[in-house]
Amino acid sequence: MQLPKSSKQFFSEAGAISRFTAWFFHEAFRPRYEWKEFGRQCYEIGYKSLPLIALTGFIMGLVLTMQLRPSMLEYGVEAKLPDIVSLSVVREIGPVITALIFAGKVGSGIGAELGSMKVTEQIDAMEVSGTNPYKYLVVTRVAATTLMLPVLVVLSDAISLYGGYLGVNIKAVTSWDLYMTQVYNTLQFSDVLPAIIKTFLFGFAVGMVGCYKGYHSKKGTEGVGRSANSAVVLSSVIIFIIDLIVVQVTDIFGFN
């Protein structure tokens, strides 16, 4: 049986990404460790994404609250607004939206940076200068995205909840204390934990896909652009797939 060309391409790409990912576990846990470059990447990837993540998180919480109010009013459960907002932000919207924005900003950046390093032979130059480029470039970036995205999501969640508080106060009055008591009473450990765990996976996926696309960039500026672009597209799709899987798994373990 002959596979159609596009599905053949799909499977060979999937295989190549798997091998590229497996290589991460081969290289990440043996010396030499590139701490300095890792620190620099955490700063570049984490700290420099803060303003964007904070802004979008704030708007997300505010808008979500404003959108939900009419329906809540209709059913006469307006008082439950903080509950529903905090649940949807922490369990789903915060992690996924933040990860998607992160993919757009950081994933494309990594894809373009490594892509241009590839086509201008900087990766080759590193290799002949006594450096393992996979360790130096890929391991540090993937480790940084994996650790920084959860931090960003927690911050974004917090800012979203504040946005939600303002949203509630636009047409009604509630105190910060009352709002937060309601939020804390609603949120269970089983809401927070799976949501945090999946952000590590999202971060890993964004870093890995960005690096893979950059590392396998085709020659020329068009190739670099395409790497950046397909890094965003593919990591966004993978974020949703991971989300779907995590929901199923937490469901099986009764975290719901």
Binding site: S116, M117, V119, Q122, A125, M126, S129
Partner: protein, 250 residues
């Protein structure tokens, strides 16, 4: 099968029957080369004939499918990781696209090979070396600039400085004058000749710039269809009545 090679006048690089295929594309198909001490060897060939692939095989960036590559009498393909790194300290590589790290300043670019290779150099010596190579290429004032602030010719010279910083015994130049105006090209040629004078390096120079070939070549190899099409000195090439050879000199 162990094959004993002989080294007339102690060649620093000796290649026999080198083959490298990319799928159907037989880029190198039985290529031979000998580089003597202090010799400047030019490899000539059309675009896409595999010149870059050849020197990337020499430095171990690409693994050939078969054939032998000996550098300083050691088979490069049998070296383990550490031995290969040690070998690479002795081989400079000037990349066709310069390969300057664009997230680093000129100083950091020059420091990179010194810091990363396990060589004993204290801060003071390292600083002196940076000043020395920058002075050699006449760009001392650019030390704190980013590569994006440099012109093409300046980038080439910084790349050349970085290639020299570990004082290699062999330098592999991948099209050192391509894409430069004739004046800048001439400057680069002068630098290449100065480096040989100063540090006694042997070099493989890939080029189709005839000015560069004429000025630098002790010997020329024309690479065609993955094999040695013709070998000889500049005079024998320019005097050749082979129409294919003549095309390069028109």
């Amino acid at each position: 099968m162990e094959q004993q090679l002989t080294y007339p006048n102690e060649n620093v690089i000796s290649i026999r029957g080198l083959k490298k295929y990319f799928g159907e594309n037989k880029v190198l198909d039985g290529f031979d080369l000998d580089l003597g001490k202090k010799e400047n060897l030019v490899v000539l060939g059309r675009s896409g004939s595999g010149k870059s692939v050849l020197i990337k095989c020499i430095i171990g960036l690409l693994a050939p499918d078969s054939g032998q590559i000996e550098v300083f009498g050691k088979d490069i393909l049998s070296l383990d990781h550490q031995a290969l790194d040690e070998m690479r300290i002795r081989i400079g590589f000037l990349f066709q696209s310069n390969a300057l790290y664009d997230s680093m300043t000129v100083r950091e670019n020059l420091e990179f090979p010194m810091r990363r290779h396990s060589i004993d150099l204290n801060e003071e010596d390292a600083r002196q070396r940076i000043e020395e190579v920058l002075d050699n290429v006449g760009l001392s004032h650019t030390i704190d600039m980013m590569p994006s602030e440099l012109s093409g010719g300046m980038m080439k010279r910084i790349a050349l400085a970085r290639t020299m910083i570990l004082k290699p015994d062999i330098i592999l130049y991948d099209e050192p004058t391509a894409g430069l105006d004739p004046v800048t090209g001439k400057e680069i040629i002068t630098l290449i000749m100065d480096i040989r004078q100063k540090y006694n390096t042997a070099a493989i120079i890939i080029s189709h710039d005839m000015k560069c070939v004429k000025a630098t070549a002790d010997k020329i190899i024309l690479l065609q269809n993955g094999k040695n099409y013709k070998e000889g000195n500049y005079a024998s090439f320019i005097g050749s009545d082979d129409p294919y050879v003549q095309q390069f000199f028109e």
